[in-house]
Symmetry: C2
Subunit: 110 residues, 2 copies
Amino acid sequence: MAALGDPTRRRVFERLKSGPQAVGALAVGLPVSRPAVSQHLKVLKQAGLVSDRPEGTRRVYYIDPRGLGALHAWLDQFWGQALVAFQAEAEAEAKTDAGTDTDSGEEETS
Amino acid sequence: MAALGDPTRRRVFERLKSGPQAVGALAVGLPVSRPAVSQHLKVLKQAGLVSDRPEGTRRVYYIDPRGLGALHAWLDQFWGQALVAFQAEAEAEAKTDAGTDTDSGEEETS
DNA sequence: GCTTACAGTAAGTTATGACTTACGGAACAG
DNA sequence: CTGTTCCGTAAGTCATAACTTACTGTAAGC
């Protein structure tokens, strides 16, 4: 999560969407130097979002599905509450000034 | 995405998981001041991750499912390539010492 | 009408981290 | 064995943004 907070790092990660890439290939087209890309890849790797494989003198990076799964799981935590709160808000908004509501008498218990 | 990069902002967001909360209630238990929480909520709101509803002099914030859906969709972009790359890596690792490859003519075009 | 509580904004400070240049090490080519 | 290419790391600079204090506005309570 924190790893994908930086825009440049997100761009590096999105570049990996088009297949495994070496560091030099990733740096081409980005507005930062190659060492900067290396540092970003290090952060992404520590976050479990990418993995790397040595290929000769090159180093090929690719997206790690496990980190993706962790993010997915973390995100899914919020779905239940989000839907409940959103629906509650819709109802509350419907009766913000509506005095004609007769059936459900509902007060706040602080 | 960028909104959830900050750890404190993430804690505010996670606090909203237990139901809609006012700003003051959210600030209690967090290691930052109440105005700081207000600023974080502003960022989260601009990102579409939370919405707010005025309740008297209080202001109740709750998680917005739409922002959550956008994040979900963005994350799902990577699944396909992630699985393909991971599987390819597994196969490549299985033949790390197998030097009898068919020598596919693959050069970087710099 | 006056006071109190709650929240957003402004201005200013400070710390975090993103970036660059320079260097060192490892693997193929000749 | 020498040279080249590719990558990671170190040290240093600088900008971004997170945080605090102080103030203003608004809604409720007496």
